[in-house]
Amino acid sequence: MTEKRLLSGNEAVALGALHAGCARGTGYPGTPSTEILENYTLLGGEAAWAPNEKVAAEVALGVAFAGSRAMVTMKHVGLNVAADVLFTCAYSGIQGALVFVVADDPGLASSQDEQDTRRYGMAAGVPVIEPGDSQESYDFTRLAFTLSARWKIPVILRMTTRVSHTTAIVQPSDKIEAPLSPHFVRDIPGRVMIPGHARIKHRELRAKLREIQEWCETEGPNQIHQGTSSMGIVSCGVASQHAREACPEASLLKLGMTYPLPFKLILGFLKNKTQRFVIEENDPFLVEQIRAEGGDVPWNPEPYRMGELNVERVRRILKGDLTPEPVPARGRPPRLCNACPHGYVFEMLKKHDCIVAGDIGCYTLAALPPLSAMDSQICMGASIGVGLGLRHVLPEAEARRVVSVIGDSTFMHSGLTGVAEMVFNPPPTGHVLIVLDNLTTAMTGQQEHPATGRKLDHTPTTRILIEEVVKAMGVKTVLVLDPVRQLAELESAVMKALQSNDLTVIVARQPCLLAAGRIRSYEKSVPTHS
C-alpha cells in the first residue's frame, strides 16, 4: 500500500492526474486553481502555462485528439474564456481523455464574481464531478479521466476554494496508469464541426449523457450516510462535510456527480423522509433540477446562495432561521506593497484626475482608498475595450481624461484583441494605454507568461516584447519607461498623449518587488534572449 500523504486539494488533483496517466497539463493561472499545474510539474508531469484559458483548452483538446490524456486547469471565470472550446468539443468528443479542472470561488476570496461552473456542465452537456476533500480530489480526478476515456467526452472536475486550499490526508492508489501511446486517427465527420456533422454529433452527445446518467444511478460516486432521524439531506462537495457535522443524525446523500444527476437515486432517498433539504454552495443547481423532476425539496433562502457555507450557516438553513446573519469581522484588506512600481503610476493618474479603465491583477487594489484610482474592472482585457467605449461617447473634455491600464500577463491573455480594436476603430480623441509590465503574473504568485521569456518551470523560451507587438499592430507612439526612475518622463508622456488625437501605448516596466530576486536568479542561471 502506498503511504498516506498530507495534501491540499490542488496537490491531490495534480497527483491524481499523474497517476491517471495524464500526458500533458495546460492552463492559465487563477486563484484558487494555480497550484495544480505547478505541483503537477514538480511531480514530473509535463505542463505549460498558455496565454489564456481558451488556448490552454485547445492545446489540451489537441492532445486528446491525438489519443493521449490531457488536463486543463483554470478558475471559474477562466471557463468563460474557454467556453467556446467546451461547448463544441462536447459534440466532437475526444480520443484519449480530456478533463477540465475548474475552481469556483464561492465567497469571492479572490475573484470578480461567484459564478457556478455546474451550469456550464449542463449548458454544454459535459459531466460534472465535485470532490469535497483532498481524498476525493485525488479519487475523482482519476474517475474524471476514466469517464472521459470511456465515453470519449470531456469531463469537468469542479473544485471550490475551500477544497483546493484545504490540506487533508490522502491515500493514493497502488494502481498507476501508464500514459497512452498517441497516434493520429483521421475522423473528419467526428472533428470538423460543420452543421452536417454537428447535427449528428449532438444526437450522439445526448445519447452519451443518458448512458452516463444510467451509470451514475448505480455505479456513480454517490454515498448515503444513514442517519437516525427522518431528515434527509442531499448535498455535494465540501457542503456535505458541513452538513454532516451540523446534523449528524440526518441521513445524507452525497452526490459526487452533479451533472447529469441520478434522479432515481435522489427521489428514492427522499421518499420516506419527513424533512428534506438540499445543501449546496453557489446557485440552487441541485434544487432546481430535483424540483423539476418532482422532488419535494425547498428553496433555501437567497442569502445562502452567496458566500461559502459553513457549519453554522447549514444549521441556520436546517432550522429555518431567517434572522439576519452576524456580519463576520473583517481583517485588514490586502493592499499594494509599499513602493510597488504600480503605485507610482496610479498616484500620477489620480493627480491628473484621469478616468481609469482598469483590469485584473494586483493593480486592481489601486481602486481601494486611499488611492481610489481605478474606475472600472470587469474581466481580463476589458480595460482596453471599455476605455475605447468611454472615449467614443463622452464629451471631449472627459474623453481626453480616459486611460486604459492593464498588466503584462493580462495583456498577453486578452489585451491583444483590444489593441486590434483600438487600431481598427480609434476614437476621435485617440487613446492612451498603459501596460504595467512587472515581468510576472504577480497576483496569482509570480507565474511566467509569454512576455517573460520563461516557461512554467522558469526555463527560457522566446520572449514576446509587448512594445514590438503593439508597434507591429499599428500603434504609432510606443514608449517604454521605468515608472520608478523615469516617473517625470512617464507623466509628461501621458499628458502629451492625452492632449493629442493619436494612439499611444506606454509600457511602464519595472519588476514586481516580490519577484525581482527570483527573476534575477532565473536570468543568471540561463540568460534569456529578448
Binding site: L6, T31, A168, V238, H242, R244, G331, R332, P334, R335
Partner: protein, 160 residues
C-alpha cells in the same frame, strides 16, 4: 489533552508573518502523530499584507475543514491587532496564545515568532517534543534549523 473528539486550533496574523508556514508545521506534526487532520486557509491575496488565518482541526475523524463559531480550543495570534477579529471564535475556556506574551522572550530572530508560538502550544498537546523537532527540520531549509529549534524551545519554556 482534552478528551473531546475534535480539537480546533486557529493561527492568525498578517501576510508575511509565517502563518501558513506555522500551520504547515502543526498539521504535519498532527498527521505524523496519527490523527485525522484538516488545515483550511484561504490564500492568494495573503502576500499583500492582508489578514491571514489558518484553521487546523484534528481528532479521530474530521468533517468540515472550518472551525465552527466559538469552538476554537487554541487561538494563536501572531499579529496583536488581529485579536479582536478572532476573539469570538474562541470557545469558553479556550486558550489564547498571544504574540504580546513573547515581547520579553529573547528569540534568535523575530521572524521565528510563529514557531515560538507553536512551542507554547505544544505544552498543551500530548505529542513528544522530538516529533515537533523532526518536522521543523524537514519543513525548513538547513540554514533556518537552529533559529527555529531555538524559537520552539523558547516558546515551550513560556509558562502555559
Amino acid at each position: 489533552m482534552n478528551t473531546k473528539e475534535t480539537i480546533n486550533i486557529r493561527i492568525t496574523g498578517l501576510g508575511g508573518m509565517g502563518i501558513l508556514k506555522g500551520s504547515q508545521v502543526l498539521a504535519e506534526v498532527l498527521f505524523q502523530a496519527g490523527y485525522d487532520v484538516k488545515k483550511a486557509e484561504v490564500h492568494g491575496m495573503s502576500q499583500r499584507g492582508g489578514s491571514v488565518a489558518s484553521d487546523i482541526r484534528f481528532g479521530k475523524k474530521i468533517l468540515s475543514p472550518m472551525i465552527p463559531e466559538a469552538e476554537t480550543d487554541f487561538l494563536l495570534v501572531v499579529a496583536p491587532e488581529e485579536i479582536e477579529i478572532h476573539r469570538g471564535a474562541l470557545r469558553p475556556g479556550g486558550h489564547l496564545i498571544n504574540a504580546q506574551s513573547f515581547d520579553t522572550v529573547p528569540l534568535p530572530n523575530r521572524k521565528s515568532l510563529n514557531i515560538a508560538m507553536l512551542g507554547a502550544l505544544s505544552r498543551h498537546l500530548n505529542i513528544p517534543v522530538e516529533a515537533w523537532q523532526k518536522v521543523i527540520l524537514t519543513v525548513f531549509p538547513e540554514k533556518l534549523h537552529a533559529v527555529n529549534l531555538e524559537a520552539f524551545e523558547a516558546g515551550r519554556r513560556l509558562s502555559p
